[in-house]
Symmetry: C2
């Protein structure tokens, strides 16, 4: 039975991508060699990297003057790289919006290198909403936010205006909806949600913002290093970049980000509709801030969920246990999750309600 | 035709490893899910990480008091992490042995954080030998060396004595020969030569040396972070760790590192024997420092190699073009390269000589 894979990440990838990746581990490009055992400087792999970069530029309509990089270390290393590159060495100051666990970690790393103004936080209500109406200081080196909060199931539906550089961690909703890249100066995302497997990090950076922090930046942490070497400063994560490229090809084939956004909206509408309708469950995030990627919901007090848990497992659903910080259930509906999988969950919720 | 794959890295992996990796991309552990789409915190992947760590400990006979980590960013990020963790914040000083491109890059990164004494360098002869007879200062935080130099084809056959902490970049000969881990305080290696595909970095670190630099270390760059979280501080490079685990299993199955060392010695003896015997070629590295992993050789002046190049390609040999820094040929004989592949090259060299 095909599983309905709701894993929060690493997560579901398109079946056709998995098939092609599997084949290339045995014989890549008809070389009679595995993708894993060729030089990253071979023309065959350079073509993969080039296509991955070109597809990101095309699918996200990246304007001129921005570089697209595939790095390593995930968002966790970006939390370090962002202040190293953008926080002024003398009197550095940045503003961060705190919307959950990942924002908090990013703030912690930035504080090592300068002053951090937390412009707003939703910690008071267990990060169940996105703060609004805050003001961003003008004397800052950059503003940082997290577009989607996997753990708490919230998502920024719009981004604040600021004249400062704008940095966004889009790890868990990149390529899931249309975003105007020109509104940002730096976007980063771990690949392992909508873009590919674990092991690669996408960075989209406006070239002109670099080289101005006055810091002596370690080579690996310096975006300029990787721009100069076209993501080949060191051996790139070959397989992760390749599978990301295949996933980007798939996204293009289904109609690109605009079409993906419609499908994701339909999935979210279906599931949140059921959460709101069903008498046994309720959603945890503020309605206007609900994530189209991760829907968190709990059973009402007194509802015994043991049978529900058996029912969804029996229906081939996996990965909907909630994160320990919220409890209950979390249904992650990343790009590759089909609408039918959401319907399967809704069916189980309805059957459970009728018991 | 099966290729004789001499790629300098990423490089040849055992066929049985590739087959199992390919199958797991479609269906891992009978889960009806791809290895790429399950949570890194699932019991199935945690078991992979645990087995990979246990196999490194067993195969390298890692003593008590050391931690084994799987990180990201390759040796290039280790060049940064080593001084961050070990170079004292106040008056930090380290000693580096310069045996080539990678040592030089490591030195460059260390210099950002403190004083670096280059105890010796073989740059005077294009890094074609390993310096000997140098002295290591006593007032240093650590000594750093590179065990094998992929580009120049040299290898340290022994390591200097010092009372200081000893750090070694073993990226290109890890698991290829017996090494007494207790002689070192920190060993690191990009996976993509003898251990697996690109995208993972192995670190073996003596726990008690950490936490003494007096630095505020960014979380991702702090080995203590990764020890505390058992290499799961952030999403690990799932596929690279998995294929490394399979490769470690394979190494164990053929008899472990001691047996591997014998096979590697036989391959090196066969090829260097031919390089020395053949009237058309000569080796570039000092004989006593020749790498058992990467054999660099040139054609004698006046020898037209065009036909040789055609002959080895026709024999199914790939990846023996020398690095631009040395020219000529470089035959990389990593663990998974069979003796028959070396014989195939030797046969071509002999046929070429007879022309």
């Amino acid at each position: 039975m095909k599983k309905h894979n709701y894993s929060a990440g690493p997560c579901i990838l398109p079946q056709e991508v998995l098939k092609e990746a599997s084949a290339s581990v045995l014989n890549f490009d008809g070389l009679d060699l595995s993708l894993l055992e060729i030089s990253h400087r071979s023309k065959n792999f350079v073509a993969v990297m080039d296509e991955a970069v070109a597809l990101v530029k095309e699918l996200m309509e990246v304007p001129e003057g921005y570089s697209v990089l595939f790095l390593q270390g995930g968002a966790s290393l970006e939390f370090v790289m962002v202040p190293f590159n953008l926080m002024k060495n003398e009197g550095g100051k940045a503003a961060y919006l705190n919307t959950g666990t990942w924002s908090s970690k990013a703030i912690k790393e930035a504080k090592r290198l300068g002053e951090v103004v937390e412009v707003a936080s939703s910690k008071d209500k267990n990060f169940s909403y996105i703060p609004k109406g805050y003001s961003i200081p003008v004397d800052i080196d950059y503003f940082h936010c997290t577009s989607n909060n996997t753990i708490y199931g919230t998502q920024m539906k719009s981004f604040p205006q600021t004249d400062a550089l704008k940095v966004c961690d889009m790890s868990s909703d990149i390529l899931s909806r249309k975003v105007n890249v020109a509104d940002f100066d730096l976007i980063y995302a771990g690949a392992q949600k909508n873009m590919g497997p674990a092991g690669a990090t996408l960075v989209i950076v406006k070239d002109e913002i670099l080289g101005k922090s006055g810091r002596d930046i370690p080579a690996y942490l310096d975006y300029a290093t990787h721009i100069d070497k076209e993501s080949m400063f060191n051996t790139p994560p070959v397989f992760s970049v390749y599978v990301s490229m295949l996933t980007l090809r798939w996204l293009k084939s289904i109609g690109g980000v605009a079409e993906m956004e419609k499908i994701n909206q339909a999935k979210a509408d279906l599931l949140y509709g059921e959460i709101d309708r069903n008498s046994k469950f309720y959603g945890t995030a503020a309605k206007e801030d609900r994530s189209n990627m991760n829907a968190c919901f709990l059973a009402h007090e007194g509802v015994d969920t043991a049978q529900f848990d058996e029912m969804w497992k029996a229906a081939g659903i996996s990965g909907i246990n909630g994160h320990r910080s919220v409890g209950g259930y979390r249904a992650s509906m990343y790009n590759a999750l089909p609408l039918e999988s959401v319907q399967a969950l809704v069916d189980v919720m309805q059957a459970f309600e009728k018991l």
